[in-house]
């Protein structure tokens, strides 16, 4: 390993601009003749639009244009799409209702986009938006997924009972048989609370149209600018791909919420042509982010786990109602299906699993992928029910897990996934030791002496990421392939530019990708630059989500580097007058076997461009290669997290007293960055468990948690420092042996925390988020019993 190569804790190359205030986020960019957008949004959860009167608003000086659903329809601008077809178990396709860029005839949630107002300043745009008169006919609404199938509110014509699909996975008969023969059945009802993503940078866009070249340009806060371009071209029909440039500059966090193609961004770039090509800038106010970013989770689940007399799991049944919100967002349908139920086997050898999922419309913001996407929900079901079963069977929860771990690989689960490598007992052992599990009893007593209730909880999670093998997901309904592309350009002076379809919005790609290059080519890391986020620069890409940038994105780079190395060897061989097979490349130098001939990488790069030192009829000049990588399998990070909490019985306040995470991410490029990803993920999961819960008012359909005044974001004082460690079973399906680390923390931690809370309180279930009030209420029956 060189000191900037694979495995080194290299400080981030991108940090200098961020710590000096020189980042370039979308809202930091201003274009000549720019106008400003503000959206008229629905104040109702469900209503018909009787009329929209823009006359008064249009008269306000400084208003440039006002656009409604009618204009969108006139232009035949296509609606927002959901790119993954799910079929119900009866074979019928999912019921996707229309999702126009600006509402047509109906609004379906509070915050639904009704009209776009464009003006000379944001103040004028906002004032004019308030002056747009919309007459609504209020309809019955439903916001709770548990009630929605029986509600008289019918959100889309295509789905009379609001059900989008009724999907199943696994062998029902085999699972029923396993339950019939079981010694014990554990049952649990769980709610996976709805979350609002809250990347710190609100969404923003600048759309413009060049009347000369007839090209559109969209600056946007996207995790995947090429996917945005593809969708806006192919489905919205705005312009063919070569006439549309999408740029995602520095992006301030995504967590899934910036994957999707939203109405606001599409509307801005579309409307620019209608105002003579002037750029239109829109930056969400935080309150708009709350209302109109795609939310996460929102599942109601009943699960049952069957065990035999020896404490071995023999079967599992799960039924989940998954909220989709008012419309199907870009990847909404795959989240509660293939990203969820395929992980219900957890780290365990479960012979029979059957799961059914009802995806249901509600009059709320759309629900889509949010950090972990389906896998936190699966882990929550598996790890809560496994913990509960262990308690019912009076088996130590660590021992119960160990007894049921998958121990040989590859392991085919009954729910599609084939685990390729792992060592689950190793992570458990390490976590138990770091958490000092054997002395937990003493700590519990010490807490009790202070009047506090202490509990411990485990989460042995597994996830499937490195999304995704195109053939596999294509057969399951995906509308796109999920490979990645890369291009390596070596300049004549030996510096290297990497063009990648991955997108960094906090993950540190500019550093880790450069480490790979430094390691492979022996070049100084400062002589490597990473180019991403611009469809005019990078040929194509599928973007960053599903912990895929390492396993998929870097593998594409690695394959392009293989080609660079091969080409450079040919050039070196020609220049040094040796056979190609005799040329060796090591530590940045080309040598000829059995001689003292030697060329540095930079010299070979220069030679490749100078070209008169070899026969250019045989070797093309230049040193530039590209590669597409389509993975052959998902990757399967797994690990064990152990959480200890202390509950203040007087107030219901839960404090995370100790948190240990032992993860297996395969080979790691930069441990510092990986640890950072784990820290952040854990806190998002602790947030879900103890703090964050999106609430819509049943009666009014209004979003009650619409700002930081009411939606609790985890703050520094709400969480501890963490104890992290790793195990390593290299991933066999990619040459770097990497798995993925971006989502693990958020996947593992809710179950670990809630297992600890229920342990502390001695209760079977406490709902998330276990806020002080929730915990205090949960404790009341115990207190009454004690009195």
């Amino acid at each position: 390993m060189n000191d900037t190569g694979i495995g080194a804790r290299v400080r981030r190359k991108e940090d200098h601009r961020f710590i000096t205030g020189k980042g370039q986020y979308t809202d930091d960019i201003n274009l000549p003749k720019q106008t400003y957008a503000y959206f008229v949004r629905s104040p109702h959860a469900h209503a018909t639009i009787k009329s929209i009167n823009t006359a008064k608003a249009k008269k306000i000086p400084g208003v440039v244009g006002i656009f409604t659903g009618e204009d969108v329809a006139k232009d035949k601008l296509g609606g927002l799409i959901c790119g993954w077809m799910i079929h119900s178990k009866d074979g019928s396709p999912m019921k996707a209702g229309p999702h126009p860029v600006l509402a047509q005839g109906k609004v379906r949630y509070v915050g639904d986009h009704v009209a776009l107002v464009v003006a000379e300043t944001k103040e004028i745009a906002k004032a004019a938006a308030a002056a747009v008169q919309v007459s609504y006919g209020v309809l019955p609404h439903v916001v709770d997924v548990a009630d929605a199938m029986k509600s008289k509110a019918q959100i889309h014509e295509v789905a009379p009972d609001n059900r989008v699909f009724n999907w199943s996975i696994g062998d029902e008969a085999a699972t029923d048989a396993a339950f019939r023969n079981a010694a014990h059945v554990t049952k649990i009802d769980l709610v996976n609370n709805r979350l609002i993503p809250n990347a710190m940078e609100p969404r923003a866009a600048i759309g413009s149209y060049d009347t000369g070249s007839e090209n559109y340009t969209l600056y946007t806060t996207s995790q995947n600018p090429h996917v945005a371009r593809l969708v806006i071209s192919a489905f919205h029909g705005l312009a063919p791909e070569h006439k549309l440039r999408v740029i995602a500059p520095d992006v301030g966090g995504g967590f899934g919420s910036k994957i999707f193609i939203y109405a606001e961004e599409v509307a801005c770039v579309w409307a620019s042509k209608h105002i003579g090509g002037r750029p239109i800038k829109w930056t969400a106010e935080r309150s708009e982010s709350f209302l109109a970013d795609a939310h996460g989770r929102d599942h109601v689940t009943h699960a049952e786990l069957a065990t035999d007399a020896s404490g071995k799991i023999v079967g599992m049944k799960v039924h989940t109602k998954a909220a989709m919100g008012a419309y199907l967002s870009t990847f909404a349908s795959c989240v509660p299906t293939y990203l969820y139920a395929t992980l219900l086997s957890g780290q365990y050898n479960i012979p029979a699993i059957y799961a059914e999922v009802d995806a249901i419309y509600t009059n709320t913001a759309p629900v889509d992928a949010y950090r972990g996407a389906g896998r936190p929900e699966a882990t929550y079901v598996v790890e809560r029910i496994v913990e509960t079963a262990a308690r019912e069977l009076k088996i130590d929860p660590a021992e119960f897990r160990r007894r049921n771990f998958v121990t040989s690989f590859p392991h085919q689960t009954p729910v599609i996934m084939c685990y390729d490598a792992g060592d689950y007992p190793a992570a458990l052992d390490k976590a138990l030791e770091i958490a000092d599990y054997k002395n937990f009893g003493e700590r519990k007593s010490a807490s009790a002496r202070k009047g506090k209730l202490r509990g411990i909880g485990f989460s042995a999670y597994i996830e499937a990421c490195g999304i995704a093998p195109s053939a596999a997901i294509g057969s399951l309904g995906a509308g796109v392939g999920l490979w990645e592309s890369a291009e390596v350009r070596v300049n004549p002076v030996g510096t290297v530019e990497i063009l990648t379809g991955s997108h960094s919005h906090g993950q540190g790609h500019e550093t880790t990708f450069a480490q790979l290059v430094s390691d492979r080519l022996g070049v100084d890391i400062n002589n490597v630059s990473i180019v991403h986020g611009d469809t005019d620069k990078v040929q194509f890409g599928m973007g960053t989500y599903g912990s895929r940038s390492g396993a998929v994105g870097m593998t594409a780079i690695s394959k392009a580097l293989d080609k660079i190395e091969a080409k450079a060897k040919r050039v070196a061989a020609a220049v040094m007058e040796a056979a190609v097979d005799d040329v060796e490349f090591k530590n940045g130098s080309f040598t000829v076997k059995g001689t003292d001939k030697k060329m540095a990488f930079g010299e070979v790069a220069l030679s490749a461009y100078v070209a008169h030192k070899f026969n250019s009829a045989e070797i093309e000049p230049g040193l530039k290669e590209s590669a597409f990588h389509d993975p052959s399998n998902f990757v399967f990070p797994a690990g064990v997290h152990i959480c200890e909490v202390e509950v203040d019985a007087d107030t219901g306040v839960t404090t995370v007293a100790n948190y240990v995470a032992v993860d297996d991410f395969g080979n790691i490029i930069n441990p510092m960055i990986v640890e950072g990803q784990v820290h952040g993920g854990i806190v998002q999961g602790i947030g879900q468990a103890l703090a964050e819960g999106c609430v819509y008012d049943k009666e009014s359909g209004q979003l009650m948690t619409g700002s930081y005044m009411d939606y609790q974001m985890p703050r520094a004082a709400d969480v501890p420092s963490f104890k992290l460690d790793f195990t390593c079973t290299p991933c066999p399906s990619n040459p770097l042996g990497m798995k993925g680390c971006g989502e693990a923390g958020a996947i593992a931690s809710p179950a670990a925390v809630m297992n600890a809370v229920t342990d502390a309180l001695g209760l079977r279930d406490v709902p998330m988020p276990a806020t002080p009030q929730v915990v205090w209420k949960a404790m009341q029956p115990m207190k009454k019993a004690a009195e």
Binding site: E123, A127, A130, S287, D650, T651, G652, A691, V695, M704, T705, Y708, M709, D710, Y711, Q712, M713, T771, P772, Q773, W776, K777
Partner: protein, 264 residues
């Protein structure tokens, strides 16, 4: 936010005059309630009269009373060494308002004039029996707080200072709303110079109020133990998604105990 005329007078009389002249004027102190309110379009005054030009910040500690200028920031109140000796509960309260940045801007006068039902200062003012000095008069705390966001201030009247009697002991304990950090329940306890005990509660009801059942118990025995088993009634308390009235009632006793334990 709608635009407005802005003035920053240097004298109280000029500020009053500017307010009287305004069609729909608002005084601006630290701005941490007013500016977010304007941003959300919940108010659209024609005129803003900024009181920061009055330069009336300062903490004067006397033998029997402490007078704090209306323009004194929470950070200045919390940081006053003399105040920490004289009325430690008040200094602690100020040091726990909002966050460090808010405490650099927010002022005691602004907080009391606004009388947010979840603000901290009203608990200290009522709990110590403070006197609110205004541009026109002196108002005892008992008569000053008249309900949610409502005070005895009239029209263009400006809070200029607050005078707190120095108690024997005082303490404050707050249970913050986990999202906003405003008081969900804040309890100020004081044992005054004459030995009487006052307990004022903020955040729990539509406005700050005294808790007679707790005062009676503490008057007999100023200790946390004296509050064991004393329940505050939930009737009339606020109920929202963060805390039901019952939970708030429970927290009042818990916070009162903690305030007594912290009292110095």
């Amino acid at each position: 936010m709608e635009n407005f005329n802005y003035v920053r007078p240097a004298k109280v009389a000029d500020a009053v005059k500017a307010m009287k002249k305004a069609k729909d004027g608002k005084y601006l102190a630290g701005g941490h309630t007013l500016l977010p309110t304007l941003k959300q379009g919940l108010a659209a005054p024609t005129d803003i009269v900024d009181l920061s030009g009055l330069k009336n910040a300062g903490v004067k500690v006397g033998a029997k009373s402490v007078t704090i200028g209306a323009g004194t920031t929470h950070a200045e109140v919390a940081g006053s060494k003399d105040l920490r000796k004289a009325i430690p509960g008040l200094a602690k309260l100020a040091g726990g308002i909002g966050d460090p940045h808010v405490r650099h801007r927010g002022t005691i006068g602004g907080s009391l004039a606004n009388n947010d039902p979840a603000a901290d200062y009203p608990a200290a003012a009522l709990g110590l029996g403070a006197t609110i000095h205004t541009s026109d008069r002196k108002i005892p705390a008992e008569k000053y707080f008249t309900g949610m966001f409502s005070t005895a201030l009239k029209g263009s009247e400006i809070v200029t200072a607050v005078e707190f009697p120095v108690p024997k002991k005082s303490g404050y304990a707050k249970f913050p709303n986990p999202a906003s950090l405003y008081a969900m329940v804040g309890v100020f306890v004081a044992q005054l110079a004459d030995g009487s005990v006052r307990v004022a509660v903020t955040g729990a009801g539509p406005g700050v109020f005294r808790a007679p059942e707790l005062e009676a118990a503490l008057a007999k025995n100023f200790s946390a133990k004296a509050l064991d088993g004393i329940a505050v009634k939930a009737k009339g308390l606020n109920s929202d998604m963060h805390a039901s009235a019952e939970y708030r009632a429970h927290l009042i006793t818990v916070m009162a105990k903690r305030a007594v334990e912290a009292a110095k």
